[in-house]
């Protein structure tokens, strides 16, 4: 933690020399993240309860900077550290293109303090401190988002972001005040037994709204597709990788550990929100041409999947089936972990594309695999993981989620069964659509002919950038092949939360991670390493057999089949819009697209040029947010006219009335 501070200070000190600034700040971050990871793992392995640090106690009541790290915090700090490590390595190369153009030291200062604030969020043990850290995190990320602030759309994005975050934080504040009202203390590790039922329900709702805004699930997601593309590449990776997970941490810490689950409708609400986000997120991701916006919508989808896992866990705990709940919680947290890794890798890859070609529009890319081969391989690894393909780590998270739903259906309540099977269908649909989405992203950007001059001139990115994204991609692969290593760490977290270890149900000893995953009571086994070994063996066997039966491999290079035309231009390839068009037509209720065709020329049958525009409506914005916004602005205008009369006497009158009311309250209360 101190190292993060040192990194931030170093950034300011080296204000004049961009080179040294970058190197020292990032080196500081790398060191700090390594230390963080080591301490988190040590805490998890040793089975210790918590570590308590009290740096400051101050005289102001309720404000004390005290931090506690228990198993749940340790897990999240571990994820944060791994991501920061790789992103910092990446940033050494990425911020090189800011040298001389912008204020690099400011960037590094903001970057280091942003990570510091997230560490504080994870370890706060006192509601006020948590709230302070939360606010600091929001403000710093706003500054990072509008870092390239001369473009209008970035400012707009920052505005939407800060407004939505503050709305969420307002709800959190109400929930904290309720907490204080009922229990007279703001310590997060205290018990919550005295809070009556209505209070619990209200607090749950407010916590949910506050954290759901930060997580970016439907219907509070509209800031995500604007904010993540506007931020610089490595910041988007951090935001999408870990900042939206702070919402999951918050939900678990406050609702699960503090309030305790008793009512089933909490889990049901989270489940339904998760299902909606999963489907809508991936549908809107499919039709995007801006590569960063596509990844932002995909983050919405993955948060939906995590919320589905959380919902199943809460449902199971409310019904007192603890091992199913532990399994579902493991699935949700495992997906958090995996999502950080592969989404970080994807955003870093996209940042590399932007660095090399200076465009974010998929329709101008193409053929990059021959010009940036190393980036392509790592990007492919992350894309395969997010589509939950064996043997990468995304599959393990999805498999665990399916197994937890499987274990929860078997009860008597019919409505619950129907909802659970519909959630299976939703998970399957969103998984398959996500695979289609990433086929589109990788295929159109990297494969085929280049569609523009910038794509033709693209060059391979610097070594450090590749190292960063390569580390993440290889962690994805390793996590998929040896799933028991992260799962063992997770099970300690889960057992400290719920008292149920899931690894007892998952076979295999500690660190002997190539044993297959197995859920007892179910008798099914999944062993990705074995599958990989079999696949490689089969490839070798098929090569040998082909050599034996068919003679040696002869190849002739020729141009692609062009149906008799002589030249295939890059425009004849499938574009991103075209790839997603069938799915857009099938789901046209959600998109409400419209077409426009304009001619230029004297006569419509002999135009000189035509322009064809397809637009899709953003359903939530148009039907939900804009009317609310219009109503709020109209109402506040009217209020303004009533209150701000411009006359000094009225203002003095207000002060007088306020003083009288306070004195009265003091007398009566």
């Amino acid at each position: 933690m101190i190292t993060y501070l040192a990194a931030a200070i170093a950034a300011i000190v080296f204000y004049k020399h961009p080179q040294y600034c970058t190197l020292s700040a990032q080196a500081g971050c790398i060191l700090a993240s390594a230390l963080g990871a080591v301490s988190a793992v040590r805490l998890l392995l040793s089975g210790q309860e918590k570590i308590i640090l009290h740096p400051f106690e101050s005289a102001i009541p309720f404000v004390s900077v005290s931090m506690t790290m228990d198993a749940l915090s340790a897990f999240f700090i571990l994820i944060l550290s791994i991501l920061t490590f790789c992103v910092s390595i990446y940033s050494i190369g990425y911020t090189a293109h800011y040298h001389g153009k912008r204020n690099v030291s400011l960037f590094h200062f903001l970057y280091s303090t942003f990570i510091l604030s997230m560490v504080l969020v994870f370890t706060a043990d006192n509601a006020v401190f948590f709230f302070m850290a939360w606010e600091i995190m929001a403000v710093l990320s706003y500054f990072l988002v509008v870092f390239e602030s001369e473009q209008e759309e970035n400012r707009q994005a920052g505005l939407i972001y800060i407004v939505m975050t503050h709305l969420g934080t307002a709800f959190l504040m109400i929930a904290f005040m309720l907490m204080f009202y009922y229990t007279n203390t703001l310590d997060l590790y205290a018990s919550s037994d005295h809070i009556p039922d209505t209070g619990r329900n209200l607090m749950f709702l407010f916590f949910l709204i506050g954290f759901a805004t930060k997580a970016g699930v439907m219907p509070l997601h509209i800031w995500l597709p604007y904010a993540h593309p506007a931020a610089p590449g490595n910041v988007s990776a951090l935001m999408s990788g870990i900042m939206i997970k702070t919402a999951v941490y918050g939900l678990l810490r406050f609702v699960f550990l503090y309030l305790g689950i008793e009512t089933p409708w909490w889990g049901l609400l989270i489940l339904v929100i998760g299902m909606g986000s999963a489907v809508f997120g991936v549908l809107y991701a499919l039709i995007e041409q801006n590569i960063k916006k596509l990844l932002a919508y995909s983050s919405i989808e993955n948060m939906g999947i995590i919320f589905i896992g959380l919902g199943i866990a809460f449902l199971a705990f409310a019904r007192e089936i603890h091992w199913v709940g532990a399994l579902a919680l493991t699935a949700a947290l495992m997906h958090c972990f995996n999502h950080t890794l592969f989404k970080g890798g994807l955003f870093l890859g996209v940042g590399s594309i932007h660095y090399a070609t200076h465009t974010k529009n998929m329709e101008e890319l193409g053929g990059l695999i021959k010009r940036m081969p190393v980036t392509a391989v790592f990007f492919l690894g992350s894309a395969l993981s997010i589509s939950a393909i064996v043997p990468f780590n995304g599959f393990i998270g999805e498999w665990l989620t399916y197994q937890s739903i499987f274990a929860s259906i078997s009860s008597e309540n019919a409505a619950l069964n129907i909802t659970l099977i519909i959630s299976v269908a939703v998970l399957a649909l969103s998984g398959a659509l996500a695979a289609a989405c990433f086929i589109k992203l990788f295929g159109i950007s990297f494969l085929g002919h280049p569609r523009s001059k910038q794509a033709v001139q693209a060059e391979e990115v610097p070594f450090t950038m590749n190292l960063g994204s390569g580390l993440l991609a290889s962690l994805c692969l390793l996590g998929g092949l040896f799933p028991l290593i992260p799962l063992n760490l997770l099970s300690r977290v889960i057992s400290s939360i719920t008292g149920n270890g899931v690894v007892g149900q998952l076979q295999g000893g500690f660190l002997l991670a190539w044993y297959p995953l197995k859920i007892s009571g179910n008798n099914n086994t999944v062993s990705p390493l074995l599958i990989l070994v079999i696949v490689v063996l089969l490839i070798v066997i098929s090569l040998l057999l082909l050599r034996a039966f068919g003679g040696s491999y002869r190849e002739r290079k020729f141009s692609t089949w062009d149906c008799g035309f002589h030249s295939l231009t890059p425009r004849m390839q499938y574009s991103g819009t075209a790839f997603a068009k069938p799915i857009k037509i099938v789901f046209k209720i959600f998109f409400q697209s419209s077409r426009d065709l304009k001619f230029q020329g004297d006569h419509p049958y002999h135009p000189e040029s035509m322009e064809y525009t397809i637009t899709t409506e953003s359903v939530f914005e148009k039907y939900v947010y804009v009317p609310v916004l219009i109503w709020v602005t109209a109402w506040s205008k009217r209020l303004k006219f009533m209150i701000q009369t411009g006359s000094v006497h009225t203002y003095l009158l207000y002060i007088f009335i306020a003083v009288l009311v306070l004195m009265l309250y003091n007398r009566l209360g």
Binding site: I444, G448, I531, A580
Partner: protein
């Protein structure tokens, strides 16, 4: 030891039987059109001929184009190791989970779609985009049917499910299983690109879905892709044959003889199923592409109703 030998025999049987299924279907279609048609073993001859030819590779293609046939073939063959032919031998670690099976086949499909985009031709993009849509729409139905059977059997391991179905007796006399069987038939038609979803014998590029992705391939690459597709078809048919038409409970004597009898019965069931698929192909036409969501919705409803009949309505 016996279990590993069982798995290897299973792999061999599936590898040998896969082109025969294709031959049977083609022969049925030819006979129904009052032609002789190609011999039943035609696909073996085709594969052998293709292996010996040279490959023509496009200049735009990258390593993905050349790696995909191997990946498609080996994922399909690895899937063949996971699906038991006979339930007489108890399972090992290898007889896997059904969710694992479907996501393994998804690996092959991912790379196939990518390789079609790799060559930079219009037909490849068209095939990829259509295949992406069809597979996304059919996926919920697959998982709901699989979950229904798995929940009845108590596990998602394929061996457990087949074992449980042999204990049920005649599955097709229960409402749950009829509905799930019909849903899985539609799933097989969609996943193996048969009429009414996609015509495997078409020559018009505009109507191709699966063929469009194979358009650029030639020589041994084409042989591997076709073989991989045939193996995938046989795996899905094995699932249906063993889950819905189980005959292993009729074999009451142990020993090697029983094992061989079980494999022979399995082959007969597979041929029976391929005749059913051929009859379906003969009696309908390829649907308009945007009528495929109707078919996918029907399949989803069938599997959902199957789940309802058992878990909500109690039988």
């Amino acid at each position: 030891m016996i279990a590993i030998a069982n798995n290897l025999i299973q792999l061999l049987v599936i590898l040998l039987l896969a082109p025969m299924v294709d031959g049977v279907i083609r022969k049925c279609k030819a006979l129904s059109q009052k032609r002789q048609g190609a011999p039943v073993l035609q696909m073996y001859y085709d594969l052998f001929k293709l292996i010996q030819k040279e490959s023509v590779v496009s200049e735009t293609a990258s390593w993905i184009y050349k790696a995909t046939p191997y990946i498609v073939f080996s994922t399909a063959a690895a899937g063949a190791l996971l699906v038991p032919i006979t339930t007489l031998v108890p399972s090992t670690q290898l007889s896997g989970d059904i969710i694992l099976l479907f996501y393994l086949l998804a690996l092959g499909r991912f790379f196939m779609c990518l390789s079609a985009l790799d060559t930079g031709s219009t037909f490849g993009g068209m095939g990829s985009s259509r295949e992406a849509m069809i597979s996304s729409l059919i996926e919920p139905s697959i998982l709901v049917s699989v979950f229904t059977i798995g929940l009845i059997a108590g596990s998602t391991s394929i061996y457990q499910m087949m074992r449980a179905m042999t204990e049920v007796g005649n599955p097709l006399f229960h409402p749950v299983f009829i509905l799930t069987f019909l849903a899985m038939l539609i799933i097989i038609l969609a996943e193996t690109s048969r009429i009414p979803v996609d015509d495997p014998a078409t020559h018009l590029e505009l109507t191709m879905v699966h063929e469009a992705m194979l358009l650029e391939y030639s020589g041994r690459h084409l042989a591997l892709m076709e073989y991989g597709a045939a193996i995938k078809q046989l795996i899905l048919m094995t699932l249906v044959a063993n889950l819905f038409l189980p005959m292993d409970q009729l074999i009451s004597f142990p020993g090697v003889g029983a094992f061989i009898l079980s494999i022979v019965l399995y082959s007969l069931r597979v041929i029976f199923l391929s005749i059913i698929i051929a009859i379906t192909e003969i009696s309908t036409v390829k649907f308009r592409f945007f009528s495929i969501p109707n078919l996918a919705a029907l399949s989803f409803i069938l599997s959902f109703l199957g789940f309802l009949q058992y878990f909500v309505l109690g039988r």
